[in-house]
């Protein structure tokens, strides 16, 4: 009988210890480092050759569909800012142009060329329970800083498919997590599982010819002479592509048009 009691007391102790281990609030927030370093080698491209300018506008035809309403009552801190963000940022149209569209060179770059990785970090901030910016681009192995400027808890969850996924806690205001992505991936969604409405998209490229449409749906790309396929990607309306040929110091205009009938694609 005593042996049985001892056996179960020992089991109970182990279970409690396993469940309860850990200390107070932790500041450990670093995501796992990606494989590969930041340096590029081989035939590194001279960026001064990217002297042609491609500008354009992502126009939106018709009436934009309404964005989903956001219900923030599950977090009192977020609820204080609910009036500033009544809806999601999925479709943002200003001056007839669609914002938050990722525009990039999808083919036409000389094979075997490598591009220097910027050392300046890209930043995404969590403010008032929203990601700022909502969409952004960066290069592979370029540093990414994820900040928490909120007086509430967030988790940063990268729903990557071609890069290692990570899910990192940021329980305290002021915390910054540093990470990188080793492989090109468009789009790479970033979400907060605590606050369902929080979502952002990043485009990760192995070259520097990419941008995001701004106010009025406008964008600008600096390109070296060549014949390129330019792709525009939007989280709701999907991908569109166009060809453009530029010569030294050329100025070309490339315009995309979306409408509510466009349907998104998987990538």
């Amino acid at each position: 009988m005593h042996k049985r009691v001892f056996f179960f007391c020992a089991l109970l102790s182990v279970a409690v210890l396993v469940a309860a281990c850990g200390g107070g609030g932790s500041n450990e927030t670093a995501p796992p480092p990606p494989p590969g370093g930041g340096a590029t080698g081989g035939n590194t491209f001279d960026m001064s050759k990217a002297n042609a300018t491609v500008t354009g506008k992502i126009s939106f035809e018709g009436t934009p569909p309404p964005n989903d309403k956001i219900q923030m009552s599950s977090d009192p801190y977020c609820q204080m800012h609910a009036a500033d963000y009544p809806t999601a940022e999925t479709v943002k149209v200003s001056d007839g142009g669609l914002e938050n569209v990722i525009i990039y060179v999808s083919s036409g770059l000389p094979a075997g060329t490598t591009f220097a990785t910027p050392t300046t970090p890209v930043e995404i901030d969590q403010q008032n329970c929203h990601y700022i910016p909502h969409a952004f681009t960066m290069m592979t192995n370029q540093p990414l800083k994820v900040k928490n400027n909120d007086m509430t808890l967030h988790n940063i969850h990268a729903w990557a498919e071609k890069n290692p996924q990570f899910n990192v806690a940021q329980p305290v205001k002021g915390l910054v997590s540093d990470t990188k992505f080793a492989n090109p991936e468009v789009p790479l969604p970033i979400r907060c599982d605590v606050h369902k409405w929080m979502g952002a998209f990043v485009g990760v490229f192995d070259h520097p010819f990419h941008t995001v449409s701004k106010q009025g749906g406008t964008f600008e790309l600096k390109l070296p002479p060549g014949n390129y396929e330019i792709t525009a990607w939007h989280e709701k309306f999907g991908k569109k592509t166009m060809m453009v040929e530029v010569k030294d110091n050329d100025k070309k205009e490339v315009n995309f048009s979306y409408s509510a009938s466009d349907k998104g694609t998987a990538d």
């Binding site: 009988m1 049985r4 009691v5 179960f8 089991l11 109970l12 279970a15 396993v18 469940a19 309860a20 281990c21 850990g22 200390g23 107070g24 609030g25 932790s26 500041n27 450990e28 599950s74 977090d75 009192p76 801190y77 977020c78 509430t152 808890l153 988790n155 969850h157 996924q165 899910n167 990192v168 806690a169 329980p171 599982d193 605590v194 606050h195 369902k196």
Partner: protein, 317 residues
């Protein structure tokens, strides 16, 4: 001693009810997509899970952390149940069954932690869901085996001449329900719940075009629902025809019929509401209750129904 044993039985019944509640809370975690809202385990945002401040239970954390605490409570109840059973229970196989329940609940906790750490891989999450149902059946079995009626001996019923015995039919029904729950878990954890967004048709057809694995999994769940319903109707018909005087068989069969009817409505509602949280979660709970009822009926069928009634019992029964 008799009082203590009744107390043990009641305690196991309480543990069974808490397990059903835990399955409901686990369903809430997936229905609200909150499984990764607490990235660390066994800690919660670096805190000891039992001292994590309530003021920080915001958004999805409320569901995920609530699930962890409810699971810890059920784990604690299981430890008490096992110790109590080993101290008071005379039958060795019942004692070992309680030890198996304890092992299952510990393994379940580890699987829950692993699925968080590895970011919800479908196979770990599905295993976690299936082990939850297995643990539920184990505590139901313990509650049955420690009940005063079972210990006294359930009334014996003579088997009716049928091609398939009632015991086999009940066991097959329980197997079908369990298989259906595995498919349901697989569907939830591969995010295939809306792979077929229409009902009663499937992508506009009776048999949908199998364009993806998600469609196959979802359609398999629908086909299995038809099979399970047929099995339950068959079991209920058999019992109401041949064993309706035996309330220990008839009542669970009737409850199972009602539950499966509710379950079908909930399944359809889950699709029609595009996985609204309430019907989706209650669908998970009702599935567990159908399994539990079918399992209880199977245990009783094996205990009560005999082919050749012993001579000394023939008159009494």
């Amino acid at each position: 001693m008799r009082h203590e044993n009744i107390a043990l039985h009641r305690f196991i019944l309480f543990t069974t009810c808490c397990t059903a509640f835990l399955i409901f809370v686990g369903g809430l975690v997936t229905s609200t997509e909150s499984g990764l809202s607490v990235p660390d385990w066994p800690t919660t945002y670096g805190w000891n899970m039992f001292s994590f401040p309530y003021s920080k239970w915001v958004g999805g954390i409320f569901y995920e952390h609530g699930h962890r605490l409810t699971a810890s409570f059920v784990g604690f109840l299981t430890v008490i149940m096992t110790v109590w059973t080993w101290l008071k229970e005379k039958r060795a196989w019942v004692r070992w069954l309680s030890a198996a329940a304890l092992g299952a609940v510990i393994l379940q906790g580890v699987l829950g932690g692993l699925t968080v750490i590895f970011l919800l891989p479908a196979w770990i999450s599905t295993l976690h869901a299936c082990l939850a149902q297995t643990f539920f059946c184990t505590v139901i079995a313990l509650a049955v085996f420690t009940s005063p009626g079972w210990k006294r001996g359930l009334p014996v019923v003579k088997s009716q001449a049928e091609s398939i015995s009632l015991q086999t039919l009940c066991a097959a029904t329980t197997g079908a329900v369990f298989t259906q729950l595995i498919l349901g878990a697989l569907m939830r954890h591969t995010n295939a719940g809306l792979a077929i967004p229409d009902f009663p048709l499937s992508l506009g057809h009776i048999i949908p075009p199998f364009t993806s694995n998600k469609v196959i999994i979802h359609f398999a769940h629908r086909v299995a629902a038809v099979i399970v319903t047929a099995m339950i109707v068959w079991t209920f018909s058999r019992i109401s025809r041949s064993y309706s005087d035996h309330r220990l068989l008839f009542r669970p069969a009737l409850v199972m019929m009602v539950l499966v009817a509710i379950q079908l409505v909930l399944g359809a509602t889950t699709v029609w509401t595009a996985k609204a949280v309430f019907p989706t979660t209650v669908h998970v709970l009702t599935g567990a209750l159908v399994l539990g009822t079918s399992f209880l009926l199977t245990l009783r069928a094996y205990a009560m129904v005999v082919v050749n009634m012993p001579a000394d019992l023939r008159d009494a029964v």
